[in-house]
């Protein structure tokens, strides 16, 4: 088969060089690949789901095997997902793999971004790739939100309502934008099919295009590498594309798929039959979005009841935490390579990666940012945490409000100190470290002997 293809397409010098292209070999460089493979699995399982899903808000009567919903009026979309879950062989497994893959996709994208951030891989000449990658993260959030809203169940519909409210909170243009996006005043019939178009065509299309750009830029610029023997700013030391990287990547893809298959088969996720069809007049508690939107929910829970009127224009209490805060934060993240360049006055090209400890300032800032997001995400589950720990919800809210301001700077300062100490002592954070061994002397006492 290889001979067949080779005799028709030929293998010129580019091909030969491509097969031998060198990629540095470190496990932390595989996290981005995990994200990529999650995306591929999402497309594959998603295609299966698309063959059964009906993006239709028209009302039908559910007549399937799940007794508590039988005879009830539901949307055709909800009905199709119920039928897929209970009447299509392997339907529920596919649905659950798809949803678990979505959670792991965003998680691995975030961890990958962290790796890039903490090692300074976004510096020149890779600023553009940082922006491409950041945009893909935003697309991933959009894909997730549109995706879990497609079954038109009570939980995701509540989330759509909150999204609508966030849109109308935008000054002046809010009610217009919301009406355009949803096709009228909430709840509308149009929104399900629009979400479908976004989720299945527009957003994946954009993601695939950006993915291509991301990989092309990476290919062209060559991957970064950690410092080490024989490694310099003007070379790349690693293993060739074929056979090592190709086999390894195939293995990582299969491993990602294996873990997701295991979860999809054994652990229940998004049981829409429990929530029931969406109804704008009912709600269930606790109500949270999927984890990657949790920070938005947490921010709106923690924001105090403040709704100022500026020159006759009301600034709704949802606007600052749900629109302005994420807008500002994400702008800083997107433009970080340029901000750092301005702060450090470093416009040189970098192909060697920093160890996080080499740049305590950047590491501290990154840790603070991550902690801020983590506190907000956990705050999104404040009522569930309150229930589990048997504490008042109001106390949890107060606690998280405090934590939001205290934990990031304290964590950042701690990270800064740790970096400085590690850098100065040249120790590996997980290494054995210098220390002493206590040894019993003949007289019965103890003496310290430095550990070799």
């Amino acid at each position: 088969m290889i001979r067949y293809v080779e005799s028709r397409l030929g293998l010129d010098s580019w091909g030969r060089r491509a097969l031998r292209k060198v990629f540095p070999d470190h496990w932390s460089f595989l996290i981005g690949e995990i994200a990529l493979f999650c995306f591929i699995i999402l497309v594959a399982t998603g295609t299966f789901l698309t063959l059964f899903y009906r993006p239709d808000a028209a009302v039908v009567t559910y007549e399937g095997p799940y007794e508590p919903l039988r005879g009830q009026e539901v949307s055709a979309a909800f009905d199709s997902v119920m039928r897929l879950s209970f009447e299509v062989r392997a339907g529920l497994v596919m649905r659950q793999i798809h949803h678990w893959a979505a959670l792991v996709f965003v998680a691995s994208t975030v961890v990958h971004m962290c790796r890039v951030f903490f090692t300074g891989a976004f510096r020149r000449p890779r600023e553009l790739n940082w922006i491409v990658g950041f945009t893909m993260l935003m697309l991933a959030l959009g894909l997730g939100f549109t995706g879990y809203s497609l079954p038109d169940d009570l939980l995701s519909g509540t989330g759509l309502r909150i999204g609508y409210s966030a849109l109308i909170s935008i000054p002046f243009a809010g009610p217009y934008i919301a009406s355009l996006a949803f096709g009228g005043e909430f709840p509308t019939e149009n929104v399900i099919s629009r979400l479908f178009v976004l989720h299945v065509m527009l957003l994946p299309g954009l993601t695939i295009a950006l993915l291509g750009a991301h990989l092309a830029i990476l290919w062209r610029q060559k991957h970064t590498q950690y410092r080490g023997p024989g490694r310099s700013e003007s070379n790349v030391v690693g293993k060739g594309l074929w056979p090592y990287q190709a086999l390894l990547s195939l293995g990582v893809m299969a491993l990602t798929a294996a873990v997701l298959a295991l979860m999809g088969g054994l652990v229940q996720i998004n049981p829409i039959w429990l929530y029931g069809p969406f109804d704008a007049t009912t709600v269930s508690a606790p109500s949270q979005p999927d984890w990657y939107m949790g920070w938005l929910d947490g921010a709106t829970r923690l924001f105090p009841p403040w709704e100022p009127t500026v020159f006759g224009v009301t600034i709704p209490s949802m606007f600052l935490p749900a629109v302005l805060l994420p807008g500002l934060f994400f702008t800083v993240v997107a433009l970080w390579p340029f901000i750092e360049r301005r702060l450090t006055n470093d416009a040189a090209e970098h192909h060697l990666l920093d160890s996080p400890r080499d740049e305590p300032g950047r590491t501290a800032l990154g840790v603070a940012g991550l902690l801020f997001f983590t506190v907000l995400t956990l705050a999104g589950g404040n009522d569930l945490i309150a229930l589990t720990l048997d504490i008042q919800v109001e106390s949890m809210t107060r606690f998280f409000r405090l934590a939001m301001f205290v934990v990031p700077p304290v964590g950042g300062a701690l990270a800064y100190r740790i970096c400085r100490q590690l850098r100065d002592s040249r120790e590996h954070p997980l290494g054995r470290g210098s220390g002493v061994v206590l040894r019993r002397t003949e007289q019965g006492g103890f003496e310290e002997v430095p550990r070799s």
Binding site: L180, A181, N235, G240, Y244, T281, A285, T314
Partner: protein
């Protein structure tokens, strides 16, 4: 070599698992077994390939030199190519300006039909379907008398004919009248202690479905906004700022509850001109 045997075993396991998976499917399917066998099939391949790459083949580190990226190298070529597009043109700036202007305005004109996506909001956010005299009904369409609402009870009501309407949903409660402390202007809005408030939270729009009966507070489960029922659903905790709009109630000659008009304010979350 031991590693080779492990790799072979992995692929064999994967093969067996794939066969098992197909058999399970053909036999009727089982979610748990499908997941486990698929995981085993993929896992076998995964471990097999990874171990093959890391332990079986000899892949020493290679060194590749980075090409010196002299910035501006390609600029010469680019400007040469760009030059060719304007060789016969007399006034380049005008042409280029008009061309970009045409493209931009075409883009804007093509974007205008996006206004078809939805209606103008108009005053829709300020109005609901409640009109003076319209009976209050439950979700089945049944009319409600004050006695039908238990003390410390809560029922969701709608304007008659619009059961289930998202924007008009209201909660109907009954409290002992001497506990009420409503604003002056609304003293007559609660016949026999029956209170009706919009069920749409003024924070982010979730239905305020939780009624803390002893404390006489309505709680929204989404972000925990809490409203005091006795004083006109004024927020006492949580991020909501505006009280839940109140529906003026009256009892008609047959003893059924009717509305005396629309809510006391726009329902749902705030927007830029909500106070107008």
């Amino acid at each position: 070599m031991k590693a080779e045997r492990v790799v072979r075993g992995c692929f064999a396991l994967s093969l067996a698992a794939s066969v098992g998976l197909s058999l399970v499917y053909l036999a009727g399917g089982s979610r748990a077994w499908e997941g486990v066998l698929l995981a085993a099939a993929l896992g076998g391949i995964a471990v097999g390939f990874i171990l093959w790459a890391t332990r079986l083949i000899d892949a020493p580190d290679n060194v590749e030199e980075r090409r010196e990226q002299k910035p501006g190298e390609g600029l010469g070529l680019i400007s040469e190519v760009l030059e060719q597009s304007v060789t016969g043109v007399s006034r380049r700036k005008v042409l280029a300006g008009l061309a970009s202007g045409a493209a931009a305005s075409l883009g804007a004109a093509l974007a205008i039909p996006s206004l078809s996506l939805g209606p103008q909001p108009g005053r829709s956010l300020f109005r609901t379907l409640w009109v003076p005299g319209i009976p209050a009904v439950d979700s089945e369409g049944g009319r409600v008398r004050p006695e039908d609402v238990p003390l410390s009870g809560i029922i969701t009501v709608f304007p008659q004919g619009s059961e289930g309407a998202g924007d008009s949903q209201a909660v109907l409660l009954r409290v002992a009248p001497d506990l009420l402390s409503l604003p002056e202007a609304r003293a007559s809005w609660a016949p026999q202690g029956c209170l009706a408030y919009s069920k749409i939270c003024t924070h982010a729009g979730c239905p305020v479905g939780l009624y803390r009966a002893q404390a006489r507070e309505l709680l929204c489960p989404c972000h925990q906004s809490t409203f005091d029922v006795l004083t006109g659903a004024v927020p006492v905790s949580g991020p909501a700022v505006r009280p839940l709009p109140q529906l003026p109630l009256a009892v008609d000659e047959d003893g059924y509850l009717v509305a005396n008009g629309d809510f006391s304010g726009p329902v749902g979350p705030s927007f830029w001109n909500v106070t107008q």
